[in-house]
């Protein structure tokens, strides 16, 4: 794609084992949650991955940038990323958006006025802040708005907590989103990722 220009793409082949301080027990990208995301995106031909970053997503974002299969870049707002992958879908390229809980909270309007009524298979990965050890009160409050918004729009969503179920959830959810032309939110629980803990 056109915008690979200007990006530094290192070799995907010499990826080191993930140095994921927030994900206990990960030994290689393939066996880690983020490795599963990357491989499952690739297997489903999802190439375009705009994001607004989150600490938990750091290694995934780094590895997406390092893999020339993906076109990945930051956007200023999550809503913007949703617009980009929606346009790309209509143009024949599949995408997914990465964000944090607080970013999801900015999306009600675009979900209700673009993704759902136009039947666009928007695939979202939401790193869950605000629970299981949250240290910022605002994060814990905004987290409580996420599932009620998803439920009020009757949107498919899953909270991934276990590594052994994760590939199944991701792969099946992507396929369902595309075949039913409906958005899906995959919420990455701290139980899966380790989350972000208070370390200043």
């Amino acid at each position: 794609m056109a915008m690979a220009e200007g990006q530094t793409l290192s070799q995907a082949s010499d990826k080191k084992p993930a140095q994921e301080t927030t994900s206990p027990g990960s030994t290689s990208p393939e066996q880690s949650w983020h490795g599963i995301v990357l491989q499952t995106l690739k297997r489903n031909d999802i190439r375009l991955v705009p994001y607004v970053p989150d600490r938990v997503l750091t290694t995934l974002i780094k590895n997406l940038h390092a893999d020339p299969f993906f076109t990945t870049f930051p956007t200023a707002r999550e809503e913007e990323a949703v617009g980009i992958v929606s346009g790309a879908w209509m143009g024949g390229t599949k995408g997914a958006v990465l964000m944090q809980t607080s970013g999801f909270a900015t999306l009600a309007n675009v979900l209700a006025s673009l993704a759902i009524p136009y039947q666009i298979p928007l695939i979202m990965f939401v790193s869950e802040r605000g629970t299981l050890g949250e240290f910022n009160y605002g994060q814990s409050l905004v987290c409580r708005t996420m599932r009620p918004v998803l439920d009020s729009l009757a949107m498919e969503h899953h909270t991934a907590t276990r590594l052994d179920e994760f590939e199944f959830i991701v792969d099946r959810s992507i396929k369902q989103a595309i075949t039913t032309q409906a958005p899906v939110a995959l919420i990455l629980s701290p139980l899966l990722t380790g989350g972000k803990v208070f370390d200043k």
């Binding site: 200007g6 949703v82 209509m90």
Partner: protein, 204 residues
């Protein structure tokens, strides 16, 4: 979109959205995609004559440029136009930085600037009296950004964008007239027809 100093917005001719949109559509001979922003912008796109490569936004204010960017990335050989109002663009100024960074050369953006939210009662936008959209675009890194001085200049800038090596943004000052038509509000059909128009899908 040369290095000349662009004239301030107030020195440009005040034109009409429907007239400019019609002039653009008349130039399209290669199944170029056109994304029309929320409200009057896509109403006038509709009124200028429906074509399968038109996409009409019925919500998600501010996302015409991001949606068009997605189309441009997915189909780098197709020219993609995006039409957006100044009020809408103010909601998503960050997208100009994203587009400047990715720099798809097949994207031409037109900002219809009347300084008001015409459709809600013509209230002024927050920056109407002080902000210069083209200066904002230039500052965002979109070097090919200019105000169109008049209709002829608009057409020249459109033509120039077709062979540009970077994305183009054209600012046009427009009057406060409402859109000429009203888009048929059928989002699924709009999306499906657009995908047919882009060759992504065949009709059932």
């Amino acid at each position: 979109m040369n290095t000349q100093v662009t004239p301030p917005a107030r020195n440009t001719k005040v034109m009409n959205r429907f007239d400019l949109t019609s002039r653009l559509i008349a130039k399209l001979k290669h199944e170029e995609a056109v994304v029309g922003g929320i409200g009057n912008t896509n109403f006038d796109l509709w009124a200028a004559g429906h074509r399968p490569q038109n996409f009409y936004m019925l919500g998600s204010m501010g996302l015409a440029f991001p949606i068009a960017l997605g189309v441009a990335l997915a189909q780098p050989k197709r020219r993609v136009f995006a039409l957006e109002g100044d009020g809408s663009l103010l909601m998503q100024l960050g997208s100009l930085s994203t587009i400047a960074t990715l720099a798809p050369k097949n994207l031409t953006m037109v900002v219809m600037d009347n300084g008001v939210y015409q459709i809600t009662g013509a209230q002024p936008t927050p920056g109407a009296a002080v902000s210069d959209i083209v200066a904002i675009a230039l500052g965002s890194g979109l070097a090919n950004s200019a105000w169109a001085a008049d209709e002829e200049d608009f057409e020249r800038l459109i033509d120039q964008s077709l062979s540009a090596s970077a994305p183009t943004l054209i600012g046009v000052r427009i009057d406060d007239k409402p859109g000429v038509g009203t888009t048929r509000r059928d989002p699924v059909q709009i999306r499906e027809r657009f995908m047919h128009g882009l060759g992504v899908r065949q009709p059932l």
